[in-house]
Amino acid sequence: MIEVAAALIVWLGAALVVLADARRGLALGLAVVTIGFAVLAWASGQPVGGVALVVGGMTGALRCWTAGHGTWGLMPHGSTSRLVLCVAAGLLSWWISASVTPTPGGPLLFAVLVVLGLMAARILTGGDIVVDRTAIACFALALASSPALASSTPTGPVPYIFGALIAAAVIVAPATLPQGAARSGKDGG
């Protein structure tokens, strides 16, 4: 029951990242995704992995929350299509994880599918660097959690720690702005 709730929390967090255009909304979405994946990691017998996800994800969320002027930016004008995407991705992932595959790790499969799908869609349709970095952080958390889907092979905490590091670093690292001066090709031949 806890795993199902955690998977739904992950969906909620991913939906927040898709529906938000400003720092606070994005930070909240990343934090919620982090909590959901941490609970799922703990439930699949990876307490170290769960703690690593919390540290990495929350570091990224905190940085996202505090950097610059923060507004929520939730569901701005014209975001109906994004809302439909969130619902459709959730339903499709739910159908695959609950009906098509009779595996015990259904909630984790749902969480991984929904985050991968929604974050990829967010990055493909986005354009703002903060949005993209937050989506990549969520993406890293989902990738770090996906080895636990393989019930036959034991997974250590390494993917969780690596994914958590990426989730933190991608937001904490300074941004590079596009520059016309780079067109000369002097740095790369």
């Binding site: 493909l124 990549i136 989902a142 393989a150």
Partner: protein, 343 residues
């Protein structure tokens, strides 16, 4: 196979730095190349596909963070799509679902691999004026070959036996598409830089066909072609950039030699690979060999064009071109040790 490609990439980086044109900042090129090599080393030793995907995500973010006129979102888009497709494919293979889901997983892995490299139907955005390290070229010619070998090796561990045939068929189908598109586009495009980019596509098409054949000849041909991309086509592309910018096509003997190497003529490395590929295709399904042979012949005019676009290499670049051609001849005449090393 991955170790050989890693060593080839290291050798190419050395060549590119040592024999770089005077206006290129060597320290910057070396630093970024070493970061790429570090990522490739991590990909080589990563035990699972999931860790490989996380490493690719790091490389994608690092490359997208480089200074360029294209923004972060535009450059990170293709790698993220690739990682998403690969991760979905692997997830579908891991769960105990119906056969349809397993086949969908195989589609995801192939589609993700092709997207990561930047082949059709997932061509990365390419601007000839962009610096090479920030452009899609490292994905198609530096990191891509090793990544493809690593992904295919790990994918075989998760793919069930009944999905393997579909997996190979998709590789061959996408390979043919890229061979034909790369060949015709390199022939028809007005831009020499664009023609170079399409030449990578065409070589990759042959590589995918080789991997899809799933027999020793196919795998051997794919390995030699990948090495000829990393050790031959990539450094030649780097040294041709100035002449392409200056639009100074020349018809010297060196241009003819470069064209022959790029076309896969004897005695260069591409010839041995093409012979092995045709032999393998004949064993599996002979009409495939006919199509491949036609595509290889079609590639000749575009290779002549690329050879002419090199200009006349002088000084250090001339030495670099000579080394690349010598290595290609050695691999073409005596590929056996390499094939034995790769198993």
């Amino acid at each position: 196979m991955a170790a050989e490609l890693f060593l080839a990439a290291a050798a190419t980086l050395t060549l590119a730095v040592v024999f770089a044109p005077p206006r290129v900042q060597r320290a910057s090129l070396l630093t970024r190349g070493l970061v790429g090599l570090a990522g490739m080393a991590a990909i080589t030793i990563a035990p699972t596909l999931d860790l490989i995907l996380l490493i690719v995500l790091v490389l994608a973010v690092l490359q997208a963070g480089l200074v360029s006129h294209r923004d972060f979102a535009a450059r990170v888009r293709a790698p993220v799509l690739a990682i998403a497709l690969l991760a979905l494919g692997v997830a579908f293979e891991r769960v105990e679902g119906p056969p349809l889901l397993l086949r969908l997983g195989a589609v995801g892995i192939v589609a993700g691999l092709v997207a990561a490299i930047g082949l059709l139907p997932y061509l990365h955005e390419f601007d000839p004026d962009e610096s090479t390290v920030a452009s899609p070229i490292p994905w198609i010619a530096f990191v891509g070959p090793l990544l493809a070998v690593a992904v295919l090796a790990r994918a075989k561990q998760v793919l069930p036996a009944d999905a393997s045939d579909a997996f190979g068929a998709m590789l061959i189908g996408l390979g043919l598409l890229n061979v034909l598109w790369g060949t015709l586009a390199a022939w028809r495009t007005e831009s020499d830089a664009g023609a170079w980019r399409y030449s990578f596509l065409s070589d990759w098409g042959l590589v995918l066909c080789g991997f899809g054949l799933a027999i020793a000849d196919g795998q051997g041909a794919a390995l030699i072609l990948l090495l000829s991309i990393v050790l031959g086509r990539l450094p030649l592309y780097l040294w041709s950039r100035q002449a392409v910018r200056d639009k100074t096509p020349t018809d010297r003997p060196i241009n003819l030699l470069v064209a022959a190497a790029l076309a896969g003529s004897a005695p260069f490395a591409g010839f041995a690979a093409r012979v092995m590929l045709l032999r393998g295709a004949t064993q599996i399904y002979w009409p495939l060999a006919v199509v491949l042979a036609a595509a290889m012949l079609l590639w000749l005019p575009a290779s002549l064009r690329l050879g002419r676009s090199m200009g006349v290499p002088r000084g250090r670049q001339a030495i670099g071109v000579a080394i690349v051609l010598a290595v290609s001849v050695f691999l073409g005449i005596y590929p056996q040790p390499l094939l034995a090393l790769a198993g």
